[in-house]
Symmetry: C2
Subunit: 349 residues, 2 copies
C-alpha cells in the first residue's frame, strides 16, 4: 500500500463498516504489506483482557478447546482480537519485523515490544490456529503478524525483567498513572492526605494502584479483596494500610467494609473485572470524592444512575488506559516496590 496517504489512526485499515475508527470496526485489513508510517510485528504472544477471558471461559464452561476455537474464529472474522460480548481485547508481544520509512514510533527491526493500544484496534492475523495454547489462561502463545499505525503506542520490553512479567505490568499501566494523578489532585484539593480505597487491591492493576496511591501522597490506603487468600496475600505485602474482605457487587457490604477500615474514601479505584461494582464504589466514597473505574465490566448507565439515585456528589472517571509516561511509571513502581513485584509474580506464576 506504500505511496497512498496513510492515516495515523489507521482509518485506511478499516474494511467494515467504512469510515469508522479501527476500534469500532467489525473487520480490519490485515494485509502484511505496510504503509509508509506503519510497523509490522511478528507476534509471539497475546495477553487477553481479563474480562474478555473470563467471559469466554464462562461461555464455554471452562472447555479450553472451545475457548481457543472461538478466539481463532474471532481473529479470522474480524482481523483483530475483539471480543464481541465484552467489547474488550488485550495486548500482545512481538518482534519488529518491518518499519515504514515514515513511522514516528522510533522502532527498528528486531526490537521486542509490547503493544500498549488495545487488541480491539490492532490488525492481527494468526497462522498457527493458536496450537500452543490450551485455552485455559489469559496468556496466549501465538504465531502471526500484527500492524501498528503511526499513532499506536508500543513499549520496548525492558532487559531487566522477564517478558511475561513486563507484559503483565504494561497491560495495566494506565491504572497507576491515573491513580497517581487523581490522588495527587485530591491531596491538593483537600489540603490533607486523602483516604484511598482500591477495590480489587490484590490484583494486577490493584496492587499497582495501591503503590501509586502511596507514591502520590495518600494518607491511608484500603485494599478491598473478595476472598481470604487474597486478604492474606495483600496483608502480607503491606501495600495497603488496611485490608478488608467484601463482595464488591454488594453495595451495602462494600461501603460498610471501607467505612470500617477508615473510610469513606476520598478516592475509590475500581480494579475488579466483574459487573455490578458501580453502586458499592459510589456508596464507599465520601461526598465530593472521586471514583475511578478501571474495570471493562463497568456499566456507564449503572454508574450514572447509581450516583444520581444515591444523591451522591462524586466525580466518576472512565479509566483511560493511556497517560503520557504510563509504561515507564508502572515498570518503575514494579522495580521500586518489591511487594508489587511479588504480587505479580505470585499471580502470573
Amino acid at each position: 500500500m506504500t505511496g497512498e496517504l496513510p492515516s495515523p489512526i489507521g482509518l485506511h485499515r478499516v474494511l467494515d463498516p467504512p469510515g469508522v475508527l479501527p476500534q469500532a470496526a467489525q473487520r480490519l485489513d490485515t494485509d502484511p504489506e505496510i504503509r509508509d508510517d506503519e510497523v509490522r510485528l511478528r507476534v509471539e504472544r497475546l495477553n487477553l483482557d481479563a474480562a474478555s477471558f473470563r467471559q469466554l471461559e464462562r461461555a464455554h464452561g471452562g472447555d479450553g478447546d472451545a475457548v481457543r476455537s472461538e478466539v481463532v474464529a474471532t481473529i479470522r472474522e474480524r482481523g483483530k482480537m475483539h471480543n464481541p460480548v465484552t467489547g474488550s481485547g488485550g495486548m500482545l508481544i512481538g518482534v519488529v519485523d518491518a518499519v515504514g520509512p515514515r513511522s514516528p514510533l522510533g522502532l527498528v527491526p528486531g526490537d521486542r515490544v509490547a503493544t500498549l493500544v488495545s487488541l480491539t484496534l490492532t490488525p492481527l492475523a494468526v497462522d498457527d490456529d493458536l496450537a500452543g495454547w490450551d485455552g485455559r489462561g489469559e496468556q496466549v502463545p501465538c504465531s502471526g503478524h500484527a500492524i501498528l499505525f503511526g499513532r499506536s503506542i508500543a513499549a520496548r520490553l525492558p532487559d531487566d525483567l522477564p517478558a511475561g512479567l513486563a507484559l503483565a505490568v504494561l497491560d495495566v499501566c494506565g491504572a497507576p498513572a491515573l491513580t497517581r494523578r487523581v490522588v495527587a489532585r485530591a491531596a491538593t484539593d483537600l489540603g490533607r492526605p486523602p483516604v484511598v480505597a482500591v477495590i480489587g487491591g490484590a490484583g494486577k492493576s490493584g496492587s499497582l494502584a495501591l503503590a501509586a496511591a502511596g507514591d502520590a501522597g495518600a494518607g491511608r490506603t484500603v485494599g478491598v479483596v473478595p476472598v481470604a487468600t487474597e486478604e492474606a496475600a495483600l496483608t502480607a505485602s503491606r501495600l495497603a494500610d488496611a485490608v478488608v474482605l467484601a463482595d464488591a457487587r454488594d453495595p451495602v457490604a462494600l461501603a460498610g467494609a471501607v467505612a470500617s477500615a477508615g473510610g469513606p474514601a476520598d478516592v475509590t479505584v475500581v480494579c475488579v473485572d466483574v459487573p455490578g461494582c458501580e453502586h458499592g464504589s459510589i456508596l464507599a466514597t465520601a461526598d465530593g470524592g472521586t471514583v475511578v473505574f478501571f474495570s471493562m465490566a463497568t456499566s456507564f448507565a449503572a454508574a450514572a444512575l447509581g450516583a444520581e439515585g444515591l444523591a451522591a456528589d462524586v466525580t466518576m472517571l472512565v479509566g483511560n488506559g493511556y497517560a503520557p509516561g504510563h509504561a515507564d511509571y508502572a515498570l518503575d513502581l514494579l522495580r521500586r516496590v518489591p511487594a508489587v513485584r511479588e504480587m505479580f509474580v505470585a499471580r502470573i506464576g
Copy 2:
C-alpha cells in the same frame, strides 16, 4: 410497614434479587403503605428518558400502542419504569399524598413535585394502563402512585413556570451543574478561558450546558448539531459562539467540525442520546482536556478503549445526574437566559 427500621436508600423495597440497591433490582415493592421516612406521591405524569423512549420507538417501528403496552408491562413486572434494554428510566411529576413522620425531605401533602432520582429506582404502580398516552412522545400522562425514600430527591415545582417546562428542565439539571463545575475548573487549570464544545447543543441538556459553560467562563463555545434545522435554531439563539453541523457518530467528521470552529475543545460535553459518539468526542478534545458524557447511550468500554487506542490524554467523566443545588441552578439558567427558555419551549411544544 411502619415500625420496622427503614433504609434511607430503599433497600427494604427490593423484592428481587434481595440485598441489591433499588436501581439494580429486577423488581420493587410498590406497597402504597409508607414507612416512617417515606413519602407517597399521586403520580400525574412520567417523563421517559430520551434514550429509553427512542429505543422503544425504534423497537416497535413507531407503533404508539405497542410502545404503551410495553411500558405498562415493564412497570407492572418490575414495579418501576426501568427499560431493560437501555438501563435507563426518566422521572415523574406528582402530588404529595402522604408523608411519613420521619421523612427528611421537607414535603407536605399537596406539594406538587418532580422526582430528581431516576425512575429506575422509584417504586411505581400505574392504575390507568396509561390510557391517556398515545405512545408517541416522552411525556406520559399517568395515574398511579410512587414512593420516595429518605434519601430520594424531589423538587417542588416552581410557581412561575409551566409544569411541563419545569419538568423538562429538571430532567436534565445535572448537565448544567456539572458543566459549570468542569468549565470553571478548566479555566483555573489552564489560566485562560477554555474552549467548550457541546455535542448536541440544540437539545435540552445541550442548550443548558452551553448556557452553563458561558456562565462558568468559557472563552469560546461551539455547539455541534446533526441537522440543518437545529443548526438554524441554535445559531439564532446565540447560545454558542459557533454552530457546526456534524454526525457525532463519525469521529473524523466530528473532530474536523470542532477544529474548524476554533477547537480542539478543552472541554467537550456529550449531550446526544445516540450510541457511538465516544471516539469523536475524544478526537475533538485537546490533549489534557476533559470529556463529559451525559448520554445514557455511552459505552464505557468504547470510551476507555477509544482514548487508549487514540493515545489521547483526556479526562473522561461519567455524567453524574446529581450535584448539590443542581435543580435550582438549571431553573435559574432558564429564567436568566431567554434563549434557553425559547429552545425548551420550541422542543417540548
